[in-house]
Amino acid sequence: MNMQLVTGNHAAGHSLSLAGEANRGARGAVCGIYPITPQTEIVEYVARFPFSKGRVIPVESEHSAMGVCIGAALNGARAFTASSANGLAYMAENVLVAAFYRLPIVMAAVNRTLGPPWNIWADQGDTLMFRDFAWVQFYCDSNQDVADTALLAFRLAEDPRILLPVMVCMDAFIVSHTSMEVELASQEQVDRFLPPCSVPHRLDPQHPVTVGGMAFPPETLSQRMELDEALRRVPAVLEEHRAEFREVFGREVCGAVDSYRVADADRIVIASGTIATTVRDVVDEWRARGENVGMIRIKMFQPFPGREIRSLCAGVAKIGVVDRNYAAGTGGIFCHEVRANLQGQDGPFVQGYLAGVGGGDVVPGLVDEIMADLSCRTAAGEAVWKGVEP
């Protein structure tokens, strides 16, 4: 076992690099890099890595970092990058292209508040901006989860049934810059876990096609439908890859959702990222007082695990969703999705809580207030802002 005390950024850089190196027997690896706090250490890690068949290209912008990945992936290489906040906003146009060209690019994204105001702390608004961009998105809760999910991401992205880019998201500083004990993969394990990257539609001089030219509505519509079908295949394929992960690495990696003490719960708090860890502790405190509360952690946001949420919430009276993000005018984005997916089901109401927006700490006391508020309610109302200075 290779246990090491490392940051989330280190864990991400390690897994991305080993995945790139694992493609040395095929077309190699390419990484377009551009710095932005708090992800910079990830691309610095990759830039230091001695690839035997790879190139790290230090470009002039995030837009180009993704551009380089797109060109490399279309030429058959394993391609990856990392970014945060306004870097992601600047990259957006090419983020879209990566998915619409069906390229298995992996991006580590450190969730940071979109500016202005300039704020480097945790907020998921940056990656959730890509909700509708057909990227698979995972929200990690620990450094180990980052290290493992980054490897799982390549396996899923490159699966011929999927061929979609994958984002591996983590909370700024709480994960990216905090050291935890992590079992880091070895090159030999990654070589076993990741088959050579194959992009079936890569450039082929014997069969010249134009990738991404003009298309009329019927062809565009069928391409969108194919995207939708690929996204729908993700949950089942992910389970296969998790089983293989277990076999190679001898440990579990969390899939689409995780739940805690929900079996007999009448109230459930749903959260993502590191907030879920705090909620878990508060659930224990409330359980000790005889309160039937539980927790669901949504790890995969896109495609949204609606079926799992529906079955876990069956028979529950009240659901609170904690969002560390704010969609202007409408509240928390996870809350919207949960509501949309529970629609038509008799029973639970879904109350939204905006906590830690702009990076404030979501401490146990705050989660305690959320549970108390949820317990008193008889119906859902407007989203409640938490952590506001009196």
Binding site: V59, E60, V68, G71, A72, E93, P208, V211
Partner: protein, 300 residues
């Protein structure tokens, strides 16, 4: 019919018959010349948003005889850097990697893509960048770009543009790229020779093609090639090359033709803002400066 076409254009035809470009389009002619100059070479194209990607036609057909990637408007050199990196990584020792060529308009080159172009040139990526310069945003219906010359009327400069055209070769030379050159569809041998010269050079290579656009220039389609020939003869668009950003070489000496012969045939210059003396003077000054730069190199 198809047999006759194959005989006429051969296997090496880059731009296949049947594309939808306007009649008299200089870009179409330039693509044909490029295909001939690259006969026998393995290459792919990266084309940003511009007339050149519309040329490909609609999915699933393509007018191009080589693999093409459509890039976002600003990103052609970034996409191409990724493609070229993988070609280089997969090249057997002693072998030459397949060429990667960006084919971009002036809008993608001088305007929205200039930061990415600059960075790619600075990193000296192993690729060829070709800007076909029709001095206008053709695809969106004829708006100004920073390559539009002074006095030209466009839909966004209805009274004639008051600013002068950017010196893009000067900008590339300032990056000290291994090779930069201008090309004209009126000079096919010079076109072919310089493309072939670039194939033998490693690193970043830049070309600027004067690409007549009858639709945007308000000119007669049949006169396109004659027009750009006048531009070379009068020194409005000189043919020259720059090695390593320092060593300037003029390929075709202007023959003293009056620049107004070039300007006078285009309705885009027929506005009141166009001062004939100023246009003539500007062309002469530019040529003068270029001669000075070329004179800097020792005579061989």
């Amino acid at each position: 019919m198809s047999v006759a076409r194959a005989e006429l254009f051969g296997e090496e035809c880059l731009l296949r018959p049947g594309n939808t470009n306007c009649g008299g389009c200089g870009m179409s002619v330039a693509l044909t010349m490029l295909g001939r100059a690259l006969a026998g070479e393995s290459y792919s194209l990266v084309i940003p948003a511009c007339c050149g990607i519309v040329t490909a036609g609609a999915y699933p057909t393509t007018s191009y005889n080589v693999p093409v990637i459509a890039s976002t408007f600003a990103s052609a050199p970034a996409f191409a850097s990724g493609v070229a990196a993988v070609n280089d990584l997969n090249c057997e020792p002693g072998e030459h990697p397949a060429h990667v060529i960006c084919w971009a308009g002036d809008g993608g080159t001088y305007d929205i893509g200039i930061a990415t172009l600059s960075a790619t040139a600075e990193r000296n990526e192993n690729l060829i960048y070709i800007c076909y310069d029709n001095e206008i945003y053709g695809n969106t219906g004829g708006q100004r770009s920073s390559a539009t010359p002074a006095a030209a009327r466009t839909t966004t400069t209805p009274g004639g543009k008051s600013e002068r055209k950017k010196d893009i070769i000067g900008i590339m030379a300032a990056h000290r790229v291994p090779y930069a050159a201008t090309l004209s569809v009126a000079h096919p041998e010079d076109f072919r020779d310089k493309i072939r010269r670039a194939l033998g050079i490693d690193g970043f290579r830049f070309f600027l093609i004067h690409a007549p656009c009858p639709t945007g220039w308000k000119t007669e389609p049949a006169e396109s090639v004659e027009l750009v020939r006048l531009a070379v003869r009068s020194g409005v668009f000189p043919l020259y090359e720059v090695f390593g950003g320092e060593d300037y070489r003029i390929n075709v000496e202007p023959d003293g033709t009056d620049p107004l012969e070039y300007y006078g045939r285009q309705r885009r210059f027929a506005g009141e803002g166009a001062d004939p003396e100023a246009l003539r003077h500007a062309a002469q000054m530019r040529m003068e400066r270029l001669r000075n730069l070329a004179g800097r190199r020792p005579i061989d």
